[in-house]
């Protein structure tokens, strides 16, 4: 098999991957950079981010205040050294994107405008109306097009990291166009594949968010960190799960129950609608349990009411919310409240890295939602994730560039052999496979229901133990999967099968990590262990792959200047 040689190969073309590619390209014109993605970069899920990107930009703000808000929001599980690096570099990244042409919304005098967001104590969220992710992604993608040393492999699905001599030296990927397996060798491999929301039934995430990079790293022996921390966003449209941005509340919107009350008075009166997502999602679930929610065909919901903002503000600041609500539920938010319910949105956990994006496997790096640096701890604040992609994308790109300039070229021979073995595995497991009694979709649907039921907003020992057993049963069924499609040309059933394999692996780490954390912290709420327990669990959980299921280890949290305290708002 032919080996394609690059210095750096980046997997994933969203905000983190593109930012890493540009950083590496700018670091040295001697570097050859490959950007491999299962979709064209502008299709990446960054595109769906709406509300904005947080950074201490204003005169009333400071990096320290941003750090404190982030750490308090994380329920003190964030690594404070990573948070300090993040808040220090965040403003520079917002300005960098501005220089590259991002159409940030502006103050009348021409400066970048900032808006209020949940859990942030001052206005610090830069935004491009409510299509911030879309504009950020297209700006990064278009900017990346000027660098000839970035070679794109669009619509290539990475199936395996190639590890040789204790070092990640490349990967095997399927070219979807003809299903040929390619071997790409590199001195540095960076995973930027986004989240895993699709392991849940009800999610804001696009179909491509299947935990691919996490599964790749996990199978290569790198632990997945803090996987129990799954963020429910308080406001998704029932049925589809389409996100109604937090900016709706940042601009002044209300959450209202079926009694006509702004019920957050009873939960977080100091912050109301600008509380952090974990607390607001729990509040809505409790309103549902009290019978204070509306009934609909897709479950109970509450109202997000932005009518009082007026048509002008809505059209200027929240045009996408109006467009989405009108198109998908037939409601004009200028005149009617929007039905919303908590929806799986973001993964705080991910591939264990240090603050430069390095994993413990030499040659392997990660950034963005795929990675767990950890700056989000047990609960991420809204608008920190786009900035995280920029800051840690740039950091990992630079770090990989430095390392690649010093590293030796990996030998093509053992690598090509590894890729050929991978090709044989793919053929015998899928494309040339005969027989099999299971279809892909029912396994996937069962997995999504299992996760929602067992590892949702509220969890118990029992629900999680059941979920662990069910996920393992589904993995067993998956081994007997049958393929309808054996074509080589753009075989999306093969992609679905590979994605489902990834989803099952990462789902198991979520439920096992959640089972083993017998406390409530941030987004992880145990009915049977309702309190935070710093004595035993002020720790990161690390899930290591084993054939019989993940083995858990625990690591200390980095605490620099903000001693853990009660999380009060």
């Amino acid at each position: 098999m032919e080996t394609l040689q690059h210095d750096i190969v980046i997997v994933g073309g969203g905000a983190a991957g593109l930012r890493a590619a540009i950083a590496a390209a700018q670091a040295s014109d001697a570097l050859s950079i490959a950007l491999v993605s299962k979709v064209y970069p502008m299709r990446s899920h960054t595109v769906s981010a709406e509300g904005g990107a947080g950074a201490a930009l204003g005169p009333d703000d400071s990096p320290d205040l941003h750090a404190f808000d982030t750490i308090r929001g994380s329920d003190y599980l964030a690594d404070q050294d990573a948070v300090e690096a993040f808040v220090a570099e965040a403003p520079g990244e917002i300005v960098q994107l501005e220089r590259w042409g991002c159409p940030w919304s502006r103050e009348p005098d021409g400066r970048i405008a900032v808006r209020a967001f949940g859990g942030m104590s001052v206005n610090r969220t830069a935004f491009a109306a409510d299509k911030t992710g879309f504009h950020l992604l297209h700006t990064l993608f278009q900017t990346s097009l000027q660098f000839d040393r970035i070679t794109r492999y669009d619509e290539f699905f990475v199936t395996k990291l190639l590890v040789e001599d204790g070092r990640c030296a490349g990967l095997a990927a399927i070219d979807l166009r003809d299903s040929e397996v390619r071997c790409i060798a590199a001195k540095a491999v960076i995973l930027c594949t986004g989240g895993l929301g699709r392991i849940f039934a009800f999610t804001t995430n696009g179909s491509i968010c299947t935990g691919d990079g996490m599964a790749l790293a996990y199978r290569a022996g790198v632990p997945l960190k803090d996987m129990e921390f799954v963020q429910y966003h308080p406001t998704g449209l029932p049925g589809t799960g389409i996100l109604m941005t937090e900016a709706s509340r940042g601009e002044g919107g209300y959450l209202i129950n079926n009694q006509g009350r702004r019920f957050l008075e009873g939960y977080i009166p100091g912050k109301m609608e600008l509380g952090p997502r974990d607390i607001l999602s729990r509040a809505i679930m409790q309103e549902i349990e009290k019978g204070h929610a509306f009934q609909g065909p897709y479950g109970e919901y509450v109202h997000l009411d932005i009518r009082h903002l007026g048509e002008r503000t809505i059209d200027e600041k929240l045009p996408f919310v109006r467009e989405l609500a009108e198109k998908f539920v037939g409601i004009d938010p200028v005149h009617e409240p929007i039905p919303v319910r908590p929806v799986v949105h973001y993964m705080m956990g991910g591939v264990d890295t240090d603050a430069m994006g390095k994993t413990r496997l030499e040659g392997l790096y990660a950034a963005g939602e795929t990675a767990c640096v950890s700056m989000n701890g047990a609960n991420r604040l809204g608008s920190n994730s786009l900035t995280e992609c920029l800051v840690f994308g740039a950091r990992v790109g630079l770090q990989a560039a430095r390392d690649a300039l010093e590293a030796a070229v990996p030998a093509a021979n053992p690598l090509a052999q590894l890729a050929e073995e991978e090709e044989q595995r793919l053929l015998s497991s899928y494309l040339d496979k005969r027989g099999g009694g299971e279809r892909i979709a029912p396994i996937r649907t069962d997995l999504q229901r299992t996760m929602e039921r067992g590892a949702g907003v509220y969890r118990t020992e029992e629900s999680l133990k059941e979920a662990v057993e069910e996920v393992r049963g589904l993995a067993e069924r998956f081994r007997d999967v049958a393929m309808d499609d054996r074509d080589r040309a753009f075989n999306t059933e093969l992609v679905s099968a590979l994605e489902l394999g990834n989803m099952l692996d990462v789902a198991e780490t979520v439920v096992v990590s959640a089972l083993e954390r017998r406390e409530s912290r941030g987004s992880h709420t145990r009915r049977d262990h309702a309190e935070r327990d710093d004595e035993h669990y002020l720790k990161h959980g690390l899930a290591f792959a084993r054939p019989e299921g993940p083995r858990m280890e625990y690591a200390d949290v980095s605490i620099t200047r903000w001693p853990p305290a009660e999380r009060k708002y």
Binding site: R43, E98, W100, L145, T492
Partner: protein
Amino acid sequence: MAERTISLKVARYRPEHRPDQYFDEFDIPYREDMVILDALNHIKDELDGSLSYRWSCRMGVCGSCGMMVNYKPRLTCSTFLREFYPKPIVVEPLENFPVVRDLVVDMTSFMQKLQSVKPWIIRHVDPPMEAGEYLQTPAEVEQYKGFSMCINCMLCYAACPVVGRDPDFLGPAVIALAHRYNMDSRDQGEAERQRAIAVDWGIWDCTFIGECSVVCPKDVDPAAAIQREKVAKTTNTMLSMLLPFGGHE
């Protein structure tokens, strides 16, 4: 009451099995709130796993799921079955592109055209980063904002008769993107970009039929962008003839 159903005729192309395009017909359960993409997913998940198509965000912003729906280019995630029910619906790959498989078209040439117009900020002099952001008033943002909303769904290419006749035509979305940067107060690359678009296969190829702007799901109005670039190029050319030292180029 019996479950309501709707019939979908879906274009298939599986070059490893037969050389031509053909149609498969599927009857699927109908609900008022289903979009075309839900119907395709129902087919793939329940009836025929071999059907291939692209999709991701299902909220009309990633641009993956453009197809011909009853002979018109549409985003399938944002097009409801109820618009057609109870009549059958024909789903085909986007017009004016080579087909790779079933509903998947080849975007290679589109991506090359996109890159060819230099869609990035071009500056003669770049102030140091410490100088902070370029100031840009809300009115200056408005100058280009509309043209920055393109999601690269390529519906305008499927609708454009010129693209159908001349596959080399840069096309509506790409010229609109060039115009977006030309209209950006931070950019100084208009002359370079005009060299890429003021060519026979660029703005002069457009005969102003305007279908691109009709089908655009994001109201980008590429037809207006092309006309404005024609005017800008003509003005610049005349200025450079009248004022050899003061013209744009």
